[in-house]
């Protein structure tokens, strides 16, 4: 078994090695035809820009390591300076250099990688999947009898913030940086999944398709790990299946198929992604597109509003925010699968809890204020509200919250700060659901009378950094806005003390001093409200 696992790890690392090397490999050369197509598709009218860029890139060989972005940026700046001076506003180029560089690369790649997409897919994704499964599946046997198997989590480099964890951290952060800010380097990855993208949406893959596909693959493989690790725990099995289903079907397949069907609403829509997590839902370009897309657009508009205003809070009332955060949400889905080995790293200190409350509610406020501005701007048909450019607020949010917080920190920091950094400190939807869960919900984690032995497993393995034990050892139910109901505290408890349940709201919050099992008169005396 150990041998199979070691071979698996080796195969996985080879796959990962190919994947990691790809951004820096390959050759790119844009011919005149491709260049003309590019100019037409981007709607660029500046002859100056066209001439300039043509001389710099057409029929020139570039390798993977060369960044086209500075070249393109320079050409754009030069052209725009001249056009501004001449007041030729219609000729100004508004495309970003990074995006254009990515598009150029995608059109101009040649050689082994784009010509052997299937093989390259196998050498990266294929080997990665096979290797990972060879490592994971033998755990059915190596983990021994079913039950909680957390042996050696704090002895291993990968799960105890050792060098492996730091390597994973560097890898994940770099991956997200490329994805968000240097997408031209992701072009080679897009070739690998072109065939899949074409078969789904009919279009070639962009780097967000790579991300979406990879997300599903990683979640599926790590869900298999969850199924094995928690095979004694039906709650974990059902929850993992749910979160995997919503990722693959709602976040990945349906939007792609919507594009293929060439529906009036031209981009795909993730029907489960609720505002304010879906922060650009009320951005004016999206509203315009929705309103101009006929019946489907209006349906999505109404659905999106209904989801946030009615469906989400009503469901939280009945089931707690877990129905969204650990059963449906994509961010939660990745956290519960890829992130599960790191759940113990969330800080349980009171200090962290304070930081959490300021940050997450700050982000919620930011999202709401921004949306207020965009909506006002939309209805008043202006780009400036209270003297502030709406676009600049949107850009700031997209950059700071959407990319850096949710992506780079949210996932990149898994191995160091735990798997729910974004969900705990940043997600505005989680903050909103948290209010409902704390003040108006039937959900709670019931503490089983006086059975707690303060061992600390529940707190240690709480991914949201809740000091579960602090409640359990007082015989008090856990009612916390941040709880996503993953159910792991209950799973790891050696004495059967914790149970996630939805019940009557009366008596849900039950602070106690003297626990069940002691003198009934003393309990009555001390616990009286």
């Amino acid at each position: 078994m150990k041998a199979i696992q070691n071979i698996g790890i080796t195969i996985f690392l080879v796959g990962l090695g190919f994947f990691t090397a790809l951004p820096f490999l390959g050759n790119f050369k844009l011919d005149q035809k491709g260049f003309d197509e590019l100019i037409t598709s981007q709607g660029i009218k500046s002859e100056l820009f066209i001439q300039n860029l043509k001389s710099k890139i057409v029929d020139k060989d570039f390798t993977g390591v060369t960044s086209l972005e500075p070249i393109v940026d320079k050409v754009i700046t030069n052209a725009n300076t001249v056009h501004s001076k001449n007041k030729e506003w219609s000729k100004k180029v508004y495309v970003s250099g990074g995006d254009l560089a990515t598009t150029i690369r995608k059109k101009s790649g040649y050689g082994f990688i784009p010509e052997n997409k299937g093989l390259m897919w196998f050498l990266t994704f294929g080997l990665g999947i096979i290797g990972a499964l060879m490592f994971i599946v033998p755990q059915v046997i190596t983990l021994g009898k079913k039950g909680i198997k957390n042996d050696h989590i704090y002895h291993q480099s990968s799960t105890n913030k050792g060098w492996i964890a730091w390597l994973v951290f560097i890898f994940l952060v770099s991956f997200y940086l490329i994805l968000y800010f240097k997408s031209e380097y992701a072009v080679n990855w897009t070739y690998l999944v072109d065939p899949i993208s074409v078969s789904l949406s009919g279009n070639l893959a962009g780097h967000w398709f790579v991300y979406g596909f990879m997300y599903c693959v990683v979640m599926t493989v790590m869900a298999i790990r969850m199924y094995i690790k928690y095979r004694h725990n039906m709650y974990q099995m059902v929850r993992t299946t749910s979160v995997l289903f919503f990722q693959i079907v709602f976040a990945f397949l349906i939007p792609e198929i919507m594009v293929r069907l060439q529906l009036s609403y031209s981009k795909g829509y993730d029907f489960k992604n609720a505002f304010p997590l879906d922060y650009d839902f009320f951005f004016n370009w999206n509203l315009k597109e929705l309103i101009s897309s006929g019946g489907l657009g209006l349906f999505i508009l109404v659905w999106g509003i209904l989801l946030t205003v009615v469906i989400v809070p009503v469901m939280v009332y009945f089931f707690g925010k877990r129905w969204y955060c650990s059963w449906v949400c994509g961010c939660g889905g990745l956290a519960e699968t890829l992130g599960d080995p790191y759940r113990q790293h969330s800080s349980k200190s009171l200090f962290s809890w304070k930081v959490e409350r300021w940050l997450i509610h700050g982000v919620l406020l930011f999202a709401l204020v921004m949306t207020g501005f965009t909506l006002y701007g939309f209805f008043a048909e202006t780009g400036t509200v209270l003297g502030i450019k709406v676009q600049s607020i949107m850009n700031t949010y997209s950059f700071l919250i959407g990319a850096i917080f949710a992506g780079v920190i949210g996932t990149g920091f898994y191995p160091i700060f735990g798997n729910r950094v974004w969900c705990r400190f940043g997600c505005p939807l989680a903050a909103y659901l948290g209010f409902v869960q704390r003040f108006k919900s039937r959900f709670r984690i019931t503490t089983n009378g006086g059975q707690c032995i303060s061992c600390g497993n529940c707190s240690t393995y709480c991914e949201q950094g809740i000091d579960v034990r602090a409640y359990a050892q007082k015989g008090e139910n856990i009612v916390r806005s941040s709880c996503v109901g993953c159910g792991v505290c209950s799973a790891v408890c050696p004495r059967g003390v914790l149970k996630l349940e939805n019940g009557p709201t009366e008596g849900r919050i039950n602070p106690t001093e003297v626990l069940l099992g002691n003198d009934v008169d003393l309990m009555e005396l001390v616990n009286k409200k």
């Binding site: 009898k145 725990n233 039906m234 099995m237 032995i453 050696p494 149970k499 009557p504 002691n518």
Partner: protein, 452 residues
């Protein structure tokens, strides 16, 4: 300001301190020779197994003590001068007290076995024991085999710990079946099977005769009363614990096996109290033993004594018995009294159900004439403490318990439910026609007004 000094920073002493602080402004000092801060003793095993780090076993952050004005002193009390109300601390200045709470817990039993004090022979009770085990048995190369002597809760925990590092374990158990002085046969049998499933070399009805030493004074083998000599590198002595009171021998405090206390938890000396594992009631309360070395009872004594100290004299009057444990992968809970065949009351009748393939079973004890429900043992099914506590208070009979058993289930959502199977088995065995009632939130969450 009255100075309350507590010796021992375990669950009993710390609970007392916390409650005294809630109720009063008295000066509070906790003295411990073991660790700087309170930790959960029951969690020591998880540190060795790598589930947690030591800091995770500390229920309160380090700032907690200062904030709540609980002074912590690290030191070993070697003498109590009760005439001058002063404690002598080893290598440190004396500490005087107005009221003293002794909560020094237990120490592992040693029954005078030859070789019991050799190096690499240890119990598993204190932080120091854990550190010793980490040193003596870091892996299977250095510790090629360990022998554990004594089949109780700590013994099986120690076996589980060592197995987590693939160290071969031989487990000597005096009884004919694991823990059968406490558990009924069906359950004890099931655990025997489970121990073997974990590749632990279980030797029932086997006693330790002698521990052999190598040249350096380290244990190298044990000799059993079956005539076997078992080579090993570590010997775990886990044949129960007894009160940790040797420092009180000449103190004038009345001692039995533990520190003798009355129901007010007072010793024979004014202003000195004892709680937790080290306290011994003059007579056991109800079916309880005079010494209760259990986490929960330690906590309850702490809760109770704080009242007395803070001007509300309160007897230690524990409610219905409950306990829990985990045997390798098997969770165990008990509510009320279920005795083993060896200690069963003459009126006590048992109903036992065991799952056909899974390691799940329940044993319910009831009065054979009145049918009154006496208690339940449950393995692999979690049960709701509150419900059983209520049923015991209401003196429900076995048929009522069967009928409403679904209310008591505390397993996570989506788990398989076994109540129907249990009740069918019960009906067949006792020729009854009980059908289970659907689980009702109203019944579960409504606290009955009339408490007995």
């Amino acid at each position: 300001m009255e100075h309350i000094v507590i010796i021992g920073n375990g669950i009993s002493g710390v609970t007392a301190a916390r409650h005294i602080r809630k109720l009063s402004d008295k000066k509070i000092t906790i003295i411990s020779a073991e660790t700087d801060y309170f930790f959960s003793r029951t969690a020591l095993m998880y540190i060795y197994m790598g589930h947690m780090k030591f800091e995770h076993t500390q229920p309160y952050e380090n700032w907690f003590w200062k904030k709540n004005r609980i002074n912590l002193v690290k030191g070993y009390v070697h003498f109590i001068d009760h005439k001058n109300q002063t404690l002598k601390i080893e290598n440190s200045t004396d500490i005087s007290y107005d009221k003293l709470i002794i909560a020094t817990g237990s120490k592992p039993n040693k029954f005078g076995w030859p070789g019991q004090d050799l190096s690499h022979v240890q119990g598993l009770y204190s932080k120091q024991d854990l550190d010793a085990l980490e040193k003596n048995a870091p892996n299977k190369k250095i510790c090629k085999r360990a022998v554990i002597v004594g089949g109780g809760l700590i013994g099986i925990e120690m076996a589980e710990m060592l197995r987590s590092r693939d160290i071969p374990v031989t487990f000597l158990v005096r009884e004919s079946s694991f823990w059968n002085g406490v558990l009924p046969n069906g359950e004890s049998q099931m655990i025997n099977e489970h121990i073997l499933e974990h590749h632990i070399d279980l030797r029932l009805e086997t006693n330790l005769v002698e521990i052999l030493s190598d040249e350096s004074g380290k244990a190298k083998a044990v000799v059993t009363d079956k005539g076997d000599t078992i080579d090993c590198d570590v010997v775990g002595l886990t044949a129960g614990v007894s009160p940790n009171i040797s420092f009180l021998r000449d103190s004038g405090i009345e001692l039995g096996r533990g520190i003798k206390v009355n129901r007010m938890l007072e010793t024979n000396i004014p202003n000195i109290y004892a709680i937790g594992d080290c306290a011994e009631q003059h007579e056991g309360i109800g079916n309880r033993r005079p010494i209760e070395a259990v986490w929960y009872t330690g906590r309850m004594m702490g809760e109770t004594l704080a009242q007395t100290i803070c001007g509300n004299p309160t007897e230690y009057k524990p409610g219905h018995w409950f306990n829990s444990a985990k045997f390798l992968d098997l969770e165990y809970q008990t509510y009320g009294w279920v005795f083993s065949e060896l200690n069963k009351k003459e009126y006590e009748q048992h109903f036992h159900w065991r799952h056909a393939s899974e390691k799940i079973c329940v044993t319910i004890a009831f009065h054979k004439d009145t049918k009154e429900f006496l208690g339940i043992n449950t393995f692999g099914i979690r049960m709701r403490h509150k419900i059983f506590d209520q049923w015991l208070t209401e003196n429900r009979n076995i048929e009522y318990v069967m009928e409403y058993l679904k209310d008591a289930n505390f397993d996570p959502e989506f788990y398989a439910q076994y109540e129907q199977e249990i009740i069918t088995h019960f009906n067949k065995k006792f020729d009854t026609q009980i059908s289970p009632k659907k689980k009702s939130w109203t019944r579960i969450f409504t606290t009955p007004k009339s408490r007995a």
